[in-house]
């Protein structure tokens, strides 16, 4: 055997990294079926279309603990034609649910801002249901930086 101490140490470090990464991935992976199920339940049979809804989220989140996001849906917000609710989902969180916002014609505009958690880089989804039952969706990829100097 001709393995130096240095090589052994380096190998050990490499193995450690692989094991750790594997473990993290394991606990952070959401059940994508869960996300789809939530979308299906929300859409209630309607075809999910794009357009009309805008999800604003940072391209890169400095810390997944607090990620500001905003949603806005185009709608006259009258008694006959308004946005009923907007569901926000995080595809890659252990539990994809984030919030469901309920609007009324008294909202004036269907817009809101909140702060969410992201366990890792993933898609954030916002899906809106109009008073006529139609459903629109927007999706943004948010990169979450993990690993600098946490402290």
């Amino acid at each position: 055997m001709n393995i130096s101490r240095r090589k052994v140490l380096a190998l050990g470090a490499g193995l450690g990294a692989v094991v750790l990464t594997g473990f993290k991935a394991n606990i952070a992976f959401a059940d994508e079926a869960k996300t789809q199920a939530a979308i299906d339940a929300f859409a209630n049979g309607a075809t999910v279309e794009s357009g009309k809804i805008t999800l604003t989220a940072p391209e890169i989140a400095e810390n997944g603990n607090t990620v500001p996001i905003s949603i806005e849906v185009e709608s006259p917000m009258t008694a006959d034609d308004y946005v009923q609710s907007v569901m926000i989902l995080a595809e890659g969180n252990p539990n994809p649910g984030v919030a469901t916002l309920h609007f009324t014609p008294m909202s004036g505009v269907a817009a809101a801002t909140t702060r969410m958690r992201l366990a890792k880089t993933q898609n954030v989804i916002a899906i809106a249901k109009m008073s006529d039952g139609s459903v629109v969706m927007d999706k943004k990829l948010v990169k979450v930086t993990i690993g600098g100097c946490g402290g």
Partner: protein
């Protein structure tokens, strides 16, 4: 001691104005996914519901889940036609309600 919720509502507006309301409440939003020092999961304890009423009618509400960050911040809008009182309520998993009332004068 629970902190008082922070709420920002304009004091005055013109009839038909769409005003912006900001709310922030101090809460750990314990997700139920974290492990404590003893290695056991810390039970979930979050604010699960936020409601904004104006003169007794719900104008906006939100169902919150563990994916909402600690110290939940919610900003939304309301179209005001008359003077009145907003009543905001946050409901904790343990049944506790936190609330705040704010008046607005509409001309």
């Amino acid at each position: 001691m629970a902190s008082k919720p922070r709420v920002k509502v304009p004091k005055k507006a013109a009839a038909g104005d769409i005003i912006t309301i900001k709310t922030l409440i101090s809460h750990a939003m314990e997700s139920g996914q974290r492990k404590g020092k003893d290695g056991n999961l810390i039970p979930r304890k979050i604010i699960n519901k936020f409601t904004a009423d104006f003169n007794g009618t719900t104008v906006f509400s939100a169902d919150l889940e563990p994916g909402i960050a600690a110290n939940p911040f919610i900003e939304f809008n309301v179209k005001v036609m008359e003077s009145g009182t907003f009543n905001f309520v946050w409901l904790d998993d343990d049944g506790t309600q936190y609330s705040s009332s704010n008046e607005i004068a509409v001309e």
